[in-house]
């Protein structure tokens, strides 16, 4: 079968970076980019790259859906805009991969819980910090109980857009919830720090997991290394900065007294598709969204698009 036709809604930096990544995909074909500003540079670039474009917004996309054959839309606008159109996408039979904080559909982290939600009409990408750190927490909970997990994401000031800045609480609250609901920690806490240093710093994340007594440290390390390899399969700049560091407690955590902890230092270099390489926080969002689209293409649409092949 051919590539699955998809649409990008939003012609800003994120939409443009998505387009660059999707143009490389062997499973997804970005056929159209939709914006609201005819003078948008993003739309002009998309046209240069051979995509159809429209400045008439989502209504235009819905009206042209059948002709374009679009099965998946990548939403790179704002939470308010996505909330307005989510139901329209669903009734048009288009799966929405939502990069905004709208949180309409279930939150997904590709190597952790995506397969549970492949049949849903709307999938939410949580936050950059969530995409970077939830896999680590999940890797630890595969080996032992985690009564409390805490993450610190540090990003360059230049890569924090106005949306993040106006509602930084949304990052901490949403990410903390993801550490619990998807990572499997009993309690979660997320911290974000902006650093204005020049040249801009790479995105870095520190993950702390509280541990019970007598855990198998080498099993935890192996589980972390395995999931890092998996994430770096779709986010090439995702890496461990050093081996996991184990400490003996006791630690008086919000999840109760913990006998020990493991600390994991991660760094994310962006691929520099459209966004600069230091903006690993943005790259991990677009790369993870593309990964979700590709898994959908293989495991959901391959069957519907080619029933003969599946039978």
């Amino acid at each position: 079968m051919g590539r699955i036709p998809i649409a990008i809604v939003g012609s800003g930096n994120i939409g443009t970076d998505l387009a660059r990544k999707l143009l490389r995909s062997s499973l997804l074909e970005p056929v159209v980019m939709v914006g609201i500003d005819p003078a948008s540079e993003g739309l002009a670039r998309a046209r240069q790259w051979g995509m159809e474009t429209s400045a008439d917004g989502v209504p235009w996309l819905l009206a042209n859906r059948a002709r374009l054959g679009v099965l998946v839309v990548f939403e790179a606008t704002s939470a308010a805009i996505h909330a307005r159109h989510a139901a329209d996408y669903a009734s048009a039979g288009i799966v929405a991969i939502d990069l905004t904080p709208a949180s309409i559909g279930p939150s997904v982290v590709p190597p952790v819980n995506l397969r549970e939600h492949l049949d849903r009409p709307n999938l939410n990408m949580i936050t950059c910090g969530g995409q970077a750190t939830i896999p680590i927490v999940a890797a630890v909970t595969r080996v032992t109980d985690v009564p409390y997990a805490e993450i610190v994401s540090t990003i360059s000031s230049r890569s924090a857009g106005p949306g993040t800045r106006q509602n930084i609480d949304e990052f901490t609250v949403t990410t903390a919830r993801g550490l619990e609901a998807i990572g499997g920690a009993a309690r979660g806490k997320a911290i974000i720090v902006l650093n204005p240093a020049e040249p801009p710093i790479l995105m870095r994340n520190t993950v702390y997991c509280a541990l019970p007594e007598d855990v198998d440290r080498s099993a935890i390390t192996a589980s972390i290394e395995a999931i890092v390899a998996e994430v770096s399969g779709y986010v090439p700049g995702y890496r461990l900065k050093s081996p996991p560091v184990f400490d003996d407690g006791p630690f008086n955590t919000p999840g109760g007294m913990a006998a020990g902890r493991v600390t994991v230092f991660l760094e994310v270099t962006g691929q520099g598709d459209f966004l600069p390489a230091y903006a690993g926080n943005l790259d991990i969002m677009t790369a993870s969204a593309v990964r979700v689209g590709e898994v959908l293409a293989v495991d959901r649409f391959a069957a519907t698009a080619a029933p003969g092949a599946a039978a």
Partner: protein, 365 residues
Amino acid sequence: MSMQDAGQDAVETVEQPSAARRYRLTDSTLRDGSHAVAHQFTPEQAAAVASALDRAGVPVIEISHGDGIGGSSFNYGFSKVDERAIIKAAAQVVHRAKLAALLLPGIGVADDLQEVQALGVSVARIATHCTEADIAVQHIGMAKRLGMEAVGFLMMAHMIEPKQLASQALIMEDAGADCVYVVDSAGAMTVHDARARVAELKARLRPTTQVGVHAHNNLSLAVANSIGALEEGVDQVDGCSRGLGAGAGNCPTEVLVAVSERVGYQTGVDLFGIMDVAEDVVAPIMRRPQLVDRSTLTLGYAGVYSSFLLHAERAAARFDVDVREILLELGRRRVVGGQEDMIVDVALELAGMDPASRYRGRARG
């Protein structure tokens, strides 16, 4: 003491004797001091300190985890006792003073303000790195909607020029801040640096917006910087009793009160009373004296966030590295407040244990 006599004469003849200048003093022993005791304050200690400060006439008492509400964490250290219990204990014994709490957007959330207000906190101090004021707009707005006094707290203010700092202060003023502080988190400012920043904020903010200064003593300049700020017209000054605070500590409240009186500023605080707080109530709960030693001096010299001190000392001991090397490297990397996780990272590298190159290939699979 002829110089002092001459000075007093000058004040009395040149200015009206009754018009001694006033400023508002905030004592942060129970907030910045939390760093120095690794966030192990008990409700009993908080009540004793708050009650004594209140009796001495301190107008504002700041209380919360050292890294603000919600700071209790692996990254910054867990509080021994939930800070809400600590605030409650203080609120029960304070009759005159206002209670303040710190909140760092990215660590605590705006909704936390509602909770601490219900416990008796009426001053919300919203802190950001000096270049990131816009992340506080949400929280300053919440404080104002709740009817709290809102103070913007621009940390690590030595890292940018006065003009740039004032532009950030304007963002906080626009968001509704009643006062914006020049915060020398690294204790890295000279008197000139402090004066220049306060003067710029005084010139650029509306006359109705107050300006504050929060000093650390890493270069032994906390009192001098605070007095310099007063000479530039600063409206609010922070102190900590016996200097109890991050790094080499803060401007000692009792010294600030004494010097203020000598140079002609009223605080409304009883001098002997505040000396007694420092000596009888705070000194016994201190784990070590607030000294300018090789570690804390390096903080000021390298321009590193003062609360990194205990974390850096622990990392130095664990990985067998000189704490000064860690601090210098953190300064070189222009690490900001909140990045405590960088300390172990840097210590690991300095210890020659950096396996990053080994891991680079492995992680990419």
